[in-house]
């Protein structure tokens, strides 16, 4: 059993997911089809481990991603045999399976109806209410999804995942203020998540370029967020990318209008911004160079992100030569 099956498959690249799901029939054949918890025969067999069920769950998700519905159904059946059909998490997994095999929107509507019946009977079923929100998002009913998420967070305000989802939905709708609020909530729950700091920086940047009013305040806040995310995670590509973007923007805007809007923190002196811009440029080109050279310890970057960083650097060069 490969160790990657023990991690949630959401972050696996497609090739790995494909490999896992291709190995699914063989894996399902080798593992016992049912393990009952109270029988004498369990004395002589290998003990049941929690890992096995994690593997089944993740395998099912990988199989659904690659369209191997047969194996996914087998996984679901075995999980149901073990934990019973009224287990909260299994209810959500079964709903997920039905969503995956649904042919069109009408079928999805039926699944949504099912979720609503479950939630009417038991409003505290967290996994199913999360599935319902995700399904609303799939059906592009964004305002409904936002309302449902707000209701969910009303009763469970310590769920970082839900806050992050809410932030994304708000940003999609262009409601940056609300998005920023939700991301701040995420940071209150997971204070050292550098990717969340960078994400907040990105949303602040979007807010800054979408309205001229107080743009500088947002920009400097955004720049500081990126600084913090780099402080938490050295050589963080997204952090440096954002740092370069915001500092260039700040430099160009401060040359246009020198008036500083009032902000919570001290305004950034232009010299600091310039130095930060230089630092980000140097660091970005270092990352691009080393990652392209395949140096040891520098290969973990996402290809698309490295290309984007390269494009940003090229853009800069063009504007200098012009």
């Amino acid at each position: 059993m490969s160790s990657s099956l023990l991690h949630p498959p959401a972050h696996l690249p497609p090739s790995v997911a494909l490999k896992l799901s291709q190995g699914a029939p063989a894996l399902l054949r080798t593992t016992p089809s049912s393990i009952s918890s109270y029988s004498l025969s369990s004395l002589f067999r290998a003990a049941e481990t929690p890992e096995l069920w994690t593997v089944y769950e993740n395998l099912m998700l990988s199989c659904l991603r690659t369209g191997d519905e047969q194996s996914a159904h087998l996984c679901l059946e075995r999980l149901t045999n073990r934990f019973g059909a009224d287990n909260e998490r299994l209810m959500a997994l079964r709903g997920l399976f039905q969503e995956a095999i649904a042919e069109d929107d009408a079928a999805l509507q039926i699944v949504l109806k099912e979720y609503e019946t479950i939630l009417n009977n038991d409003p505290s079923n967290m996994p199913v209410s999360k599935r319902r929100i995700a399904l609303l998002k799939t059906l592009t009913k964004i305002p409904e999804a936002i309302t449902a998420l707000n209701q969910f967070l009303e009763s469970s305000p310590t769920d970082a995942e839900a806050w992050a989802e809410l932030a994304d939905l708000y940003v999609v709708q262009g409601m940056y203020q609300q998005g920023i609020f939700a991301l701040e909530e995420v940071l209150l729950i997971t204070p050292n998540a550098w990717n969340m700091h960078a994400r907040l920086g990105e949303v602040l940047y979007m807010a800054a370029i979408s309205n001229d009013f107080e743009a500088n305040k947002y920009l400097s806040e955004s720049l500081r967020r990126f600084c913090r995310s780099i402080e938490l995670c050295d050589d963080y590509l997204r952090g440096y990318y954002g740092l370069k973007l915001t500092s260039s923007k700040l430099l160009s805007s401060s040359s246009q209008s020198s008036k500083q809007s009032k902000s919570d923190t001290a305004p950034l002196p232009t010299s600091t911004v310039e130095r930060l811009n230089e630092l980000a440029t140097a660091k970005l080109s270092e990352i691009v160079r080393r990652s392209a050279g395949g140096e040891k310890g520098w290969t973990g970057y996402d290809q698309a992100e490295v290309i984007a960083a390269q494009a940003l650097l090229d853009q800069d060069k063009v504007s200098i030569t012009r």
Binding site: L43, L276, E286
Partner: protein, 262 residues
Amino acid sequence: MAQVPVQTIHRDPQLFYWILIPITVVMILTGMLRHYATVLMATAPKKQELPAIKEQRSLIRGVNLRANQYNISPASFEARKNYLVSAYETGAFLKDPEKKGQTAANPMTDPAAMEGMMGMMKGNMAMIVPQTLIMGWINAFFAGFVIIKLPFPLTIKFKSMLQAGVATRDMDPQWMSSISWYVLCIFGLQSVFNYLLGSDNAASQMQQQMGQMGPGAGANMFGPGQDPDKQFQSEAENLAVLAHHYILEGVEDRLLETVKVR
């Protein structure tokens, strides 16, 4: 110095087959039986209702805000603080707001707390009943038997441990009585049960005793007898007096100092 003569007692070898082995086998079988009985009797953890979840998580939200306040800007912090403090003080998050201000209910009358206590009772009964029965059985049939001689010498202090039920003053502590063998089995079969039933079995009573001594501190936070309103009030106070500082203050200078491009 005169050599102390080695004590020899002629034992019927049948003692070995008809006392030592039966006691051991019975102990193992009862352990397994107890494990399965506990598994069958265990009640599933009770599902929490939505208002109860809300009450707990809202309190945790306040604690989170207090702990990680440095991550958000002073304005955001101020807004959240004002909201949470006023909501805490008015009891907006309470499971049943009309009960606010009343004294904490007696934990004995709370059905949820009673259920928890019943679970504990069941666990204890599953231990005490078989233990009493086997002890009675051994006392009735095998009292006073000396069953084995340990292959190593022991000091006199072990006499009370190894020769329970055999009142002879001069017998060497190497000799072991049936009741002592039983006591030894109670504590010594842990690894056998681990092998047979998996490591988190209900038969190993040492774990149970440990569990009773120090229940998790986290469980106590919302345990019975705690008045959630009091917790909310104290949390509101903690939040209200908190001095906020912002981690993004001066982060750019810190960064410029630490990061060097190679």
